[in-house]
């Protein structure tokens, strides 16, 4: 889940309009950008879609780290394609957020100023090639859990971006699983690397869904508005239930001694991640927070002359008399 702990905004709109708006959502209608919407709906969506977009962009960094060191040319081409997809996903989402009246530059500046977040998961390093497998298998797997239901979200542009993203995302998860499978059936050293990657990425992946929100007023409001489709706990449970058999197939051990099948609830009982670690990472104290933001800042600063130069060129071309050709 790329949007964590999105607080909903209080809304002070005309109650009659609010009720009519809610009725449209309850009837399954999509809300389009120019239509009336509560201020709280607009602001919450900007925050959520923006955070989701930032996550796609920052998410390129841990994977980009391995492009030059991919073990074969084929793996390199696949990883390049995957990282390029993430850039595309970021762009679809920024465009969706912009329809709500915020500009691309404002979103980027809010990220760089620390006013907007990206997913906690991208503050963990990718230390070995097996980590690239674990990221695809677990991180993209967790993201899909959240993104598939969001295809039905009430805001039209967000829903359409999610539909496009979901079409492309299953390639990401499969390529990760494929790397893990290769490693898990390889030499002892490779198997060890695969297990080590699972050990390090398991709990951070569970954190992606955010802490339990069964009592959260923000989540309740977002669910009423169909900005959020499931509770964090529901999605986390679904993820564990789906992933554990896959780990067993790979012959890898999920790093949770208390993990067991609970026939009564039809799902696994599992250990919650360390939420104090999660909050530390959100506060900026994760292993790679400073590095990630510095990379985004550098890209923004180093790209300034290109952005400006191309605009200047376009203005000059537009002004040039046609007869000169």
């Amino acid at each position: 889940m790329y949007a964590q702990m999105v607080t909903s905004e209080a809304t002070q709109d005309d109650p009659e309009k609010l009720a009519a708006f809610q009725a449209r959502i309850d009837a399954g209608e999509k809300i389009e950008p120019k239509e009336w919407m509560p201020e709280g709906y607009r602001k919450t969506l900007i925050r959520q879609i923006g955070q989701h977009a930032h996550s796609e962009i920052v998410g390129q960094l841990p994977e980009g780290n391995w492009i030059t060191r991919a073990p074969t040319l084929e793996r390199k081409a696949i990883l390049l394609a995957k990282v390029q997809d993430e850039a595309g996903h970021g762009l679809y989402l920024y465009c969706a957020a912009e329809t709500l009246g915020v500009s691309r530059d404002e979103l980027t500046e809010a990220l760089l100023a620390g006013k907007m977040k990206y997913s906690s998961i991208f503050n963990y390093p990718t230390l070995t090639w097996a980590d690239i497998g674990a990221v695809g298998w677990l991180v993209d797997g967790a993201a899909i859990m959240n993104q598939v239901p969001l295809q039905r979200t009430s805001f039209g542009p967000y829903s359409r971006a999610m539909i496009r993203i979901c079409k492309e995302e299953s390639f990401h998860q499969r390529q990760g699983f494929d790397i893990m499978r290769k490693m898990a059936t390889g030499t002892d050293a490779q198997r060890h690397m695969a297990q080590d990657a699972l050990n390090r990425f398991w709990y951070p992946s569970l954190m992606m869904f955010g802490p339990s929100d069964k009592d959260s007023v923000h989540s309740a409001q977002s669910m009423r508005w169909k900005i959020k489709m499931n509770t964090n706990d529901e999605l986390r449970q679904k993820f564990v239930d789906q992933t554990v058999p896959q780990a067993e197939y790979l012959g890898l051990t999920v790093p949770d001694p208390d993990l067991r099948w609970n026939a009564e609830k039809g799902g696994y009982d599992f250990t919650e991640p360390d939420w104090s670690e999660f909050f530390e990472v959100l506060k900026g104290n994760g292993p790679c927070n400073a590095e990630r933001l510095a990379a985004r800042q550098k890209a923004w600063d180093d790209g300034a002359w290109v952005r400006g130069g191309l605009m200047a060129h376009a203005a000059k071309q537009a002004a040039a008399p046609v007869a000169a050709e």
Binding site: Q84, G88, L91, R160, R307, G309, L310, M311, H313, A314
Partner: protein, 94 residues
Amino acid sequence: MSAEWPLWEIFIRGQHGLNHRHVGSLHAPDAEMAMRHARDVYTRRNEGVSIWVVPSAAITASSPSDKGPMFEPSQDKVYRHPSFFDIPDEIGHM
């Protein structure tokens, strides 16, 4: 120069014989760059055989508040649909 690149709407013809369809938007300094970006952002998986890029500012859209006057008048003109007319069974397909 701090002006943001303008927004472009992207339309793609998925296959020969079909209409161009709106697929999304992107920022670019000019039409040529919009075309290059559209190719990278929207046709990574064989999605198209032709691309149109249009400055978003050039599009005039109907207003949501005009939805009633714009579209409701056609609702009571059911005779515009062929199913309005009864054709005797003996006539067969028409």
